[in-house]
Each structure stands twice: as structure tokens, then as C-alpha cells.
Symmetry: C3
Subunit: 138 residues, 3 copies
């Protein structure tokens, strides 16, 4: 069985979503499986409605955000969604939408982009995460 990275993605700001893509890429490059549980604000960032919206950085770094945003644009840095898509082509990456968040907000699987493989309850995800080598809450 391959080593595994399991991430709970709770945050929805552009800067916090970058590491989700990058850590996934890094794990795949090392031959690891990746399982991602999208919840709360993190899940909303993967709704169809949210695509194409201008990236919103954490207010804590408002002073550095414009500089970072410009660099990302100038260097054509792929978006977290693009990075995840690429990682899925190269490795074993599964993305789950949190059923509790969906129930609360009256959302259905079709409301999210096709990067999302399936829905999962938090217990189900915990069961997948328990044998992961690296577990992170982002």
C-alpha cells in the first residue's frame, strides 16, 4: 500500500488554497496517495459558482497580498484547481465534499466542479485518514 497524505481543507482564501495544490503535487511526485476532504469555506471554493472569481487573500496579509497576486499572474502560476487537476492525472488523488456542509447549505454534488470525486461524511474521511502518513488541516 502506498504512503498517504490526507488533508482536511477548511479554508477558502486563495493563499491557503495554494498549498493544497502544491502539497498534493509534492506528495504525488513522491509516489504517495492523496485524499482531500473539502469542508466549510474550502468546499465553497470548489463550487461551480465560485470559479473565475478574483482570488481573495487572507486579510492578515493584506499588506503583502497585492505583491503576491501580481507575481502569481506575471509568472503564470497555475491555480490550485489547475494544480490539483494535473496531480490527479499523474497520481492517485481523491477529492471528497463534506456532506454536512452540503446539507447545511442545501448543496448537491452537481453544484461542485468535476474535480470533486464523491461526497463523504466526516466519519468516513476519518476512516480514510487513520492510516495516512501525513495529516494536515488547512
Amino acid at each position: 500500500m502506498a504512503d498517504k497524505l490526507a488533508m482536511v481543507v477548511f479554508s477558502g482564501t486563495a493563499d491557503r488554497l495554494f498549498p493544497v495544490g502544491v502539497l498534493t503535487s509534492g506528495a504525488v511526485a513522491m509516489g504517495m496517495d492523496v485524499e482531500i476532504f473539502l469542508t466549510f469555506w474550502g468546499l465553497q471554493a470548489f463550487s461551480k459558482k465560485a470559479q473565475g472569481a478574483p482570488p481573495k487573500f487572507s486579510t492578515d496579509y493584506a499588506d503583502m497580498a497585492p505583491m503576491f497576486a501580481q507575481v502569481l499572474k506575471e509568472k503564470n502560476v497555475p491555480s490550485p484547481v489547475e494544480t490539483l487537476r494535473k496531480a490527479k492525472e499523474l497520481g492517485n488523488v481523491k477529492v471528497y465534499a463534506c456532506t454536512m456542509t452540503m446539507d447545511l447549505l442545501g448543496q448537491k454534488k452537481e453544484d461542485f466542479i468535476d474535480l470533486v470525486d464523491a461526497t463523504a461524511g466526516v466519519g468516513e474521511f476519518m476512516d480514510k485518514a487513520r492510516d495516512a502518513n501525513v495529516t494536515l488541516f488547512i
Copy 2:
């Protein structure tokens, strides 16, 4: 020995405390033990003084917060404290208050709600976390 989820709860905003309760519930449902280390802002949310205060969401999601707050109210979603209380009835959940934070702020164990089982130093908690299957910083 049961599998274990160990969480360092540093954050104190309402939205970041929800996953603390929900992940604990999910882990207990899967037969896992849970150990929670409350520190900094996260510890303050469990002070007796903080109970009953209106939930404060992260400023990063100020645009979505009113919608979320209304949904939580309409659907009678239990608070993180209520969810943790329930999880403690059903499983093996231990909640520790960080002694360093308490020392800094001149706080005593009695300043916190009875959900807090004991105080612990960060080394002690690290010792409990080292054999956990899932470790998260929230």
C-alpha cells in the same frame, strides 16, 4: 489500543471551532480516541466568561458569514461545545488546557468550563500525540 485523533486547537473563531466538534464526533463514531489540546485563542473560547457570547466568524469570510450564521441558527446546529459534550458521552475524548497560555494570562483551571478535563504542558501533549494516527492543528 484504539486509533487516535490528536488536535491542537489554537483558533478561537466560531467557524474554526465547528470542525473541532465535528471531527471529534466523526472520530468517536469510527471508534477512535480523541485528545484535544486547547491553546491561545482556542483556549479562551472555552473560558466560562466566553460562553453565551455571539459567534464570531473569521474576517476572511465576512461576506459569507451572515448566511452561514443564519443557517446554523435555522437548522439548530449544535454548538462546538455541545457537540464535544455529546462526543464525550459516546467515546473516549480528553480535553486539555495549555498551561503556558494559562500562566501567561493568569488563568486557573476553574476559569474554564467543565468540558476541560485537565491542564497539560505542550511536551505532555506532544507525548500523547506521538502515537496518534491523525494529528491536526486548527
Copy 3:
């Protein structure tokens, strides 16, 4: 082989950097190795340029921040950098700068304080983290 704590340090606010130092100290006290991957805003906090700047707390806790800042000053609480320096004297602590962030911002290893041992790609760090006992994203 010693037990290990591996942390991805993404955040750069003063309050979120404190646990980086304190968790490292705690892990070292318990005989654990520590590996720290500085990225994004977290890496910027370890630039030479950032040293000596007044600590900036998360905006989410703006109401409690002045009180906390005063306590830290009154009690001469060592800064995260000082705590990490001390922990490095006592144990096996390695600090890596994220090459992707450095490339994006045109930074070199010399732009960071000497606490930073080396640069590393995210894949390299994932490879170090895969056998860690405790993994955290801060």
C-alpha cells in the same frame, strides 16, 4: 530512530508563529526530532528584512491582541525565533525554506536568517514528513 514532529509553517502572524516555537520546544523536550518547512507568509517572517518589525497578530483576534501583546512584553516571553534557536541548541531541529516561494519572489537563501538550515522543495519535505509521528500545518 527518534520520533518526529514535522510542520508546514504557512502562516506569518505573530500569534501563529508562537506555537511553532513552543511545539518545537515541547517535541525536543520529549526527545523528538523536528523538521520545519517554511513557506509563503511563514517563510517571509524568517527573512532578514522582517526581523525587528513589531509583532502583527491575526485580525480575527484584534479585540484580544493588545492584551496578549502586553503580556508577552511584561513577562519577557521569548520570540518564536528565540525559542527556535534555543530548541536547536538542545535537540535535532531542522528548518527548511520552500524553494517554490523563493523562486516566485526572487529570494535567495542569504535573504533569510541563519536559523534556516537549507532550502527544500515540497516533494523533498513530504518525503521527510512521511515517517513523522506528528504532522501539522500552521
